[in-house]
């Protein structure tokens, strides 16, 4: 199986604070990481390779420091990495176009694995967009996968329903967090990842020089979580009485 895992470098959303004077979220200086659900996609790729053999390529569109994220995926078990330099004002159109072209450039890809959505924006666009660009089938929101030589079967969480689907290859699969527990690389794997190939492509290498975004961000404003933060500790009897009084005063006790 020739597998491509698409992963995104994101800010650690739990660390974001809103600057009260500008009302903007502060994104500088916040740790970067691989979007959590993309690691589930990586883990699933490794399990498929363990069963059926093949090769895994980890691909991302991102800034230069996303190299470090690709190295983490190489340590987990990817055989090769691809970093596509993100253009200015990249939107989902540009990012997924670039990934789709990257996949075409590699050739003979059987499975494209993505997380259901990235934890920063949670749009869930990239997987179905790649499938749309390549005009191949898509199996979304998979929480269980069974890959075989000729076809792949997915149990999919579609909200009110659970849909069991199968597809021939090539196919795009997006996975949910429940599908597996991503492995932690060993020290040997981390050291070994330095010797694995990491290719860097630009939009021009993919025939996308000058391609314009379809959507631009015109404003980003912070939503501050202002709460009373009245916390009772120590004497529990006092605390529950205090709380019951407050809730009655707020008029929310039913």
């Amino acid at each position: 199986m020739n597998i491509v895992v698409c992963a995104k470098q994101v800010v650690d959303v739990g660390e974001i604070k809103v600057n009260p004077s500008t009302n903007k979220p502060v994104l500088e200086g916040i740790p970067r990481k691989i979007s959590d659900i993309d690691k589930n996609a990586m883990e699933e790729a490794i399990r498929i390779k363990e069963k059926l053999g093949g090769k895994i390529t980890a691909m991302t569109v991102g800034p230069p420091d996303a190299r470090e994220r690709i190295k983490e995926l190489l340590a987990m078990g990817a055989d090769e990495g691809v970093l596509i330099e993100a253009p200015e004002n990249a939107d989902y159109h540009l990012v997924s176009r670039a990934l789709a072209r990257g996949i075409e450039k590699m050739g003979d890809v059987d499975i494209v694995l993505c997380g259901e959505a990235s934890i920063d924006m949670f749009s869930g666009q990239v997987g179905p967009r790649i499938a749309g660009h390549l005009r191949i089938p898509q199996l979304t929101y998979a929480f269980r996968l069974e890959a075989d030589e000729g076809k792949i079967r997915a149990d999919r969480n579609m909200g009110d329903t659970m849909v069991i689907s199968e597809s021939t290859y090539p196919v795009v699969v997006t996975v949910t967090k429940e599908i597996n527990e991503p492995r932690l690389p060993s020290l040997m794997q981390i050291l070994g990842s330095a010797n694995k190939p990491l290719n860097e492509w630009k939009m021009g290498d993919l025939g996308l020089e000058g391609e314009a975004p379809r959507v631009t961000e015109v404003d980003l404003s912070g939503v501050s979580m202002e709460r009373k933060n009245v916390i009772f500790k120590d004497d529990l009897d006092e605390a529950v009485n205090e709380l019951a009084d407050r809730l009655a005063k707020e008029g929310v006790t039913g």
């Binding site: 916390i231 529950v240 009084d245 006790t253």
Partner: protein, 320 residues
């Protein structure tokens, strides 16, 4: 900007909500709103959409049963190209959210998912959406058409039906292509028929509970508060399966806004907070004084929930 609005939803309720917004956008430009419906009985449902604001109902692919994103995307792509529609509104159900980006890619178009507002600002189509787990709102602008937008349920109220409205019903010749995927089976998710999204009072549980039997304690608290609705964080529904997914509150679960939200034994991961941050009053009970949930709470008690909950039930009962 020309404003031909096309609407597709996998549920009738969703389509009626989208019609209300679509009507407003099209009226501002003096243009038309069309609704696409597929499947064998599509014709019988057309009148209802016209009564609720559609100028035109497009009946397509009568052979299609159920929902497969690849097929619906083919049908919509054909209609958008033939009819020169330039704003496509789709419900933010899971079906809608796997359909919209696929369609956008096929049309080489921009797409915004989960738009909370859609407006024309100086001739430009602008939408807002919540990002960074609820920490920020992004305002985005379409640089080109067609524009594909998905809209969450209840973002807009359906227009009242007007039985005297008239509209066109046409049949589209487009047919879906063949695809290598197929649906084997559709099962109802295990559901306890709970609707957390409409609940006034929610008491919610997380990993602080040691066994599913202990949830009885939580039910007692819910009864005391006259709020029968139980919520939970991801591990309780997704990993431990003590409660069905319809109780799950968070970024990938349900988004709720009760007047009172009581989080018991929930640490307060940002993905959980994203699902309940619009609640009126938030109460947290957790034994860890450093649990992030306290930052998101109006009132909190630091203590073992196995002691706190029974005492709180007594205190609330004493005030009745």
């Amino acid at each position: 900007m020309i404003m031909m609005v096309l609407i597709y939803s996998d549920t009738e309720k969703g389509a009626l909500e989208l019609l209300s917004k679509g009507r407003e956008l099209a009226d501002a430009a003096g243009r038309k709103v069309s609704v696409v419906i597929t499947g064998p009985d599509a014709g019988s449902r057309a009148k209802r959409f016209i009564e609720h604001g559609a100028d035109r109902v497009i009946l397509a692919a009568p052979s299609l049963e159920g929902f497969k994103a690849e097929e619906i995307a083919d049908v919509l792509e054909g209609i958008v190209k033939d009819e020169k529609e330039d704003v496509i509104l789709i419900s933010s159900t899971k079906n809608g959210k796997e359909l919209a980006p696929r369609l956008a890619a096929m049309l080489d178009a921009g797409c915004v998912t989960d738009a909370t507002s859609i407006d024309i600002d100086s001739g430009r189509l602008r939408v807002e959406r919540t990002v960074y787990s609820g920490n920020a709102v992004a305002k985005e602008e379409f640089a080109s058409t067609p524009a594909v937008i998905t809209v969450p349920g209840k973002a807009f109220d359906p227009l009242p039906p007007d039985p005297s409205r008239t509209g066109e019903v046409i049949e589209a010749a487009v047919q879906p292509g063949g695809h290598g995927s197929r649906i084997i089976e559709v099962k109802k998710m295990v559901s306890e028929g709970v609707n957390v999204e409409d609940a006034e009072i929610i008491v919610s549980c997380g990993r602080g509970f040691k066994s599913s039997d202990d949830l009885k304690m939580l039910e007692e608290l819910a009864d005391t508060l006259n709020g029968v609705t139980l919520g939970c964080s991801r591990p309780i529904a997704a990993d431990l399966k003590w409660l069905s997914d319809d109780h799950w509150i968070g970024l990938s679960g349900h988004k709720v806004k009760p007047k009172l939200y009581v989080a018991c034994g929930i640490s307060g991961q940002i993905q959980h907070v994203a699902g309940m941050r619009d609640s009126g009053i938030i109460v947290a009970i957790n034994k860890d004084p450093d649990a992030p949930i306290f930052n998101s709470a109006d009132y909190g008690i630091v203590g073992d929930l196995y002691q706190v909950i029974p005492k709180l039930v007594e205190a609330l009962k004493a005030r009745k």
